[in-house]
Amino acid sequence: MQSNISGRYFRQLTLKNFGAAAQEKLLSSKVLVIGAGGLGCPALQYLAAAGIGTLGIADFDKVSLTNLHRQILYSANDIGVLKAEKAKIYLQNLNPEISLVSYTDKITYDNANQIIHEYDLVIDATDNFDSRYIINDACIFLKKPFILGAIHEYQGQVAILNYADKEVNKPVNYRDIFPSLSSGTELPNCEANGVLGVLCGIIGTMQANEAIKLITGIGAPLINKLMTYDSLTNETYIVELSQTINN
């Protein structure tokens, strides 16, 4: 029984424990990806292809030459074009059956609640600390879960934060684990430290995978867990988070 679900999803519909019920959940879900860069591009591509019903793309930046080694939705012809607009066109061609919404204003404390309010789940694919806290704080206010993704050189982090259901005691948010970061200067970004495009691909794809698991209810999503992946050794290290602070 596949009801009216498009044939484009057939290869995932046939997966054990997936099927039409899981696909319907994806098709009725609303996911906002904030940051259409190294992490956001692969996350957006797989979420669009998988059939997330409404996919928001938030990025105020324009494509530059130094983006192209990792931001795989863009080509050399797109330099100078707004990423959110270009990503929307690319993804709409990839999957004309979903709704795509682009946001080209920078996410701030003034607009975050209004934008995030429309969605069930947020993917934090930003590259700086200030944005991370804005997303975190808006998600706390709106009681929305978000999936953190971040890179340091050859390592990446993924976690599902601020997620609450009857099986989880208390949702952990970013300020629970890193409350005292006062400025962006402490933390180098990819611009300063460099990054291989494939690691962004891996971590962004892991974020998309966690989103699909969370929405469909399959597997064991990284709820209140911080996973670190080391691309040099292929090791993963998963730590259970709590509201208890020791830093």
Partner: protein, 75 residues
């Protein structure tokens, strides 16, 4: 007692990916030993996990898996 500690991200740039510390019995002594051995860590943010859980000021057993995890910022 000597424990093996794993570091990630920018903390590993300071300590190496794994290192040993002696006479660590709980989180407070761990922090003190860390700051004595690597003074730059005083200015760094990181969470300490013991046996893959966020640790409070609890006893650290000799075979415990201790890790230092800083926030990552890039994307």
């Amino acid at each position: 007692m000597e424990i093996t500690i794993r570091s990630f991200g920018s903390i590993a740039d300071i300590t190496g990916k794994t290192f040993l510390l002696k006479d660590v019995t709980d989180i407070e002594t761990l922090k003190q030993k860390l700051y004595d051995a690597y003074p730059e860590l005083i200015h760094k943010s990181f969470i300490i996990s013991v046996d893959k859980k966020i640790a409070t000021n609890e006893t650290i057993l000799p075979n415990a898996a201790v890790a230092l995890l800083p926030p990552f910022s890039g994307g």
